[in-house]
Amino acid sequence: MRKRWIGLAVLLLGAALAQAEVRIGVTLSATGPAASLGIPEKNTLLLIEQGTFGLPKGVKVRFFVLDDGTDPTAAVKNTKKLIQENRVHLIIGGTTSPNSLAMIDAVAEAKVPFISLAAAKAIIYPVDAKRYWVFKTPQTDELMSKAVVEDMVARGIKTVAYLGFNTAYGEGWAKEFAKAAKAAGLQLVASERYSPKDTSVTGQVLKILSKRPDAVLIGAAGTPAVLPQRTLVEKGYRGQIYQTHGVANPAFLKVGGRFVENTLLPAGPILVAAQLPNAFPSKRPALTYIAAYEAKYGVGSYSTFGGHAYDAWQIAKGAIERALKKARPDDLAAFRKALRDEIEATHGVVGVHGVFTMGPTDHLGLKFNEAAVMVRVKNGNWVLERTFR
């Protein structure tokens, strides 16, 4: 009899303690082909957890971090686990576009807001009943395509070829780039695909070389992006090679070596933060973030992908504080809805990748001229080529 009373008392105590807590679930790709994207995100989340970048006032925040190994099936499994077992209020993550796209159904069904860290526009557009719950911080492939196309036109390039992943990332880029190129009057002479695990892309490269384009865009991410560029250079291609922002990390430079010299790529401003003009809005938060990241993980270790996680936190932090005025965290459904509404109401949040102002039809909130700069690889370093302001 006494045991029952003690048990009840403990249960009530536990329930009382559990109340003032916001739970954030994270599923990211710390292993697998996208690990060079997921590991900096994970490191940033560890810094966030320690309070380095501020914590929302008046409530305890708990993180649950899971690894999905760059596998969409695992990402969905993790999402369901976080929602049902850990009862999280918010999900952040889905490092790659295939993973985030797969997670949409799970979060929409459970009515949990989700801030994605992946690039494809299809993740948040169009804002239908399911994408009502989905937001993202990285620049879309559409936004970056616009930057690439504008740079190509400025250089007088007329014909261009595309060689990209056969995954959702590569396909997304293929579609958006084709659209942007057509709108600007560029001629797309070839559109080839390869798998991130391929050991040879000679056939695709030969097809592209036979069309003699002025420029080639490689739609890949991480270290597997080196293979097509290396094959192009070895087969004697002399035109300008563009990569996407998916390669903006040190591992790409290391594995690419001399083969990736002079590459042009669109990137978030944080990549070349110290070289930005002082009036650029993201310069200050970028330098703060870089200082904190390098203090823990070493000089030169930061990457743009960690920056996306930082931006997600800036948005989430403000949204949590505003949502606390409207609902309590222990009322799961109500707080999740309030959090979603407040994320959508984000206005003028200055992140390391641009200034975020979201709305009912825009769940990204970035403007192209503040969120993208053109970067060139020179002597194994990232050098700012131009901004679009």
């Binding site: 060079s36 056969n166 390869y194 695990k197 000679t202 080196v226």
Partner: protein, 331 residues
């Protein structure tokens, strides 16, 4: 399609084909002697260049520890067999010393990586397959797939998820009939042909025939004085040697990462099927076919390349089941 492009695709297809042929040869070798379809061979093919990359970066790769550990466990399991445990322990110590030598003299990283990865094959046989002497092919296949997952996970833990770039043994290009062919590619093709010839000749000797007998009829082989256990270990040792050499030769062309091995193993398996999993020359021909098909379909329809290569299995299986080239064996 002009002659130059055709030539490039041909050379690229033959070079990839040589890699698949080497993997196919090791698969056929193991199957012919032990009836095991060695799926983890793909992982060992990648372990060798990744170990080499570790030495080149001045680290001691964890493969050294893994090899030594497996050899020590083998020594403990065989502790009542006379001098065997001492030889095995000595081998384990030797592997450890080789590892230290590799860190100290990185210019020898290639051969040392080869010798470090070599014990993984026979040790895996002794630890995992030998205790199941009466297993069916399906049972061995399930076990092999399980081992594949283990070795892949260990590969990730040891080497990380990124790709590594390795220096070529024969850098630069040769002009072959007016086409630039990478020197490393020539080495790979030569290795495939050498391995095929070597294995073909080996299995015409008495010892080689004895090895095959061990798989055709276990009881009969044992009655004839052939050690089935030793046959399995020798087969695994030879197969790992072929696979590790393939990985070391191919890695400078393709970069190496922990997850590339599985697809290599699968395509090698498709090539081996052409030889019915028993014929070496046909396995090499199969490898060439797979490589060429892959090269040309990546030119014409790059998005469907993988599907086309694996669909090749269907006509091959149809041809094999209709032709009379079968081997009778007692089950």
């Amino acid at each position: 399609m002009d002659p130059t492009i055709f030539g490039f695709l041909l050379s690229d297809g033959l070079i990839s084909g040589a890699l698949y042929a080497l993997v196919a040869l090791s698969l056929v070798l193991v199957f012919a002697v032990t009836r095991v379809i060695l799926i983890p061979m793909g992982e060992w093919v990648m372990y060798a260049p990744l170990t080499q990359a570790g030495f080149l970066e001045g680290r001691l790769p964890a493969t050294v520890g893994l090899s030594a550990l497996l050899l020590l466990v083998w020594a403990v399991l065989d502790r009542r067999r006379g001098r065997a445990p001492w030889l095995l322990a000595g081998w384990a110590v030797g592997v450890g010393l080789l590892g230290l030598a590799g860190v100290r003299w990185p210019s020898l990283a290639g051969p040392i990586a080869f010798l470090v990865v070599l014990p993984l094959g026979p040790a895996s046989f002794r630890l995992f397959f030998e205790p199941l002497p009466q297993g069916s092919v399906l049972l061995y296949l399930i076990l092999a797939v399980g081992l594949h997952f283990v070795y892949k996970g260990l590969g990730l833990a040891f080497f990380g998820p990124d790709q590594f770039r390795l220096p070529a043994l024969w850098p630069g290009e040769l002009g072959v009939l007016g086409l630039p062919v990478p020197g490393q590619g020539v080495l790979l093709v030569a290795a495939a042909l050498l391995a095929m010839a070597g294995l073909f000749l080996f299995f015409t000797t008495l010892y080689g025939k004895a090895l095959r007998a061990a798989a055709v009829n276990r009881l009969g082989a044992r009655i004839s004085g052939i050690s089935v256990r030793e046959a399995g270990r020798v087969a695994f040792l030879l197969a790992t040697a072929v696979g590790a050499a393939a990985g070391l030769l191919a890695a400078p062309l393709t970069n190496a990462s922990y997850d590339m091995g599985f697809l290599l193993g699968l395509k090698g398996f498709v090539a081996a099927i052409l030889g019915g999993l028993v014929s070496y020359p046909l396995a090499v021909v199969g490898g060439g076919l797979v490589g060429l098909l892959e090269a040309f379909s990546s030119f014409y329809a790059s998005a469907y390349k993988e599907a086309i290569v694996f669909t090749l299995l269907l006509p091959i299986l149809a041809w094999r089941s209709l032709s009379a080239l079968t081997l009778e064996e007692e089950e």
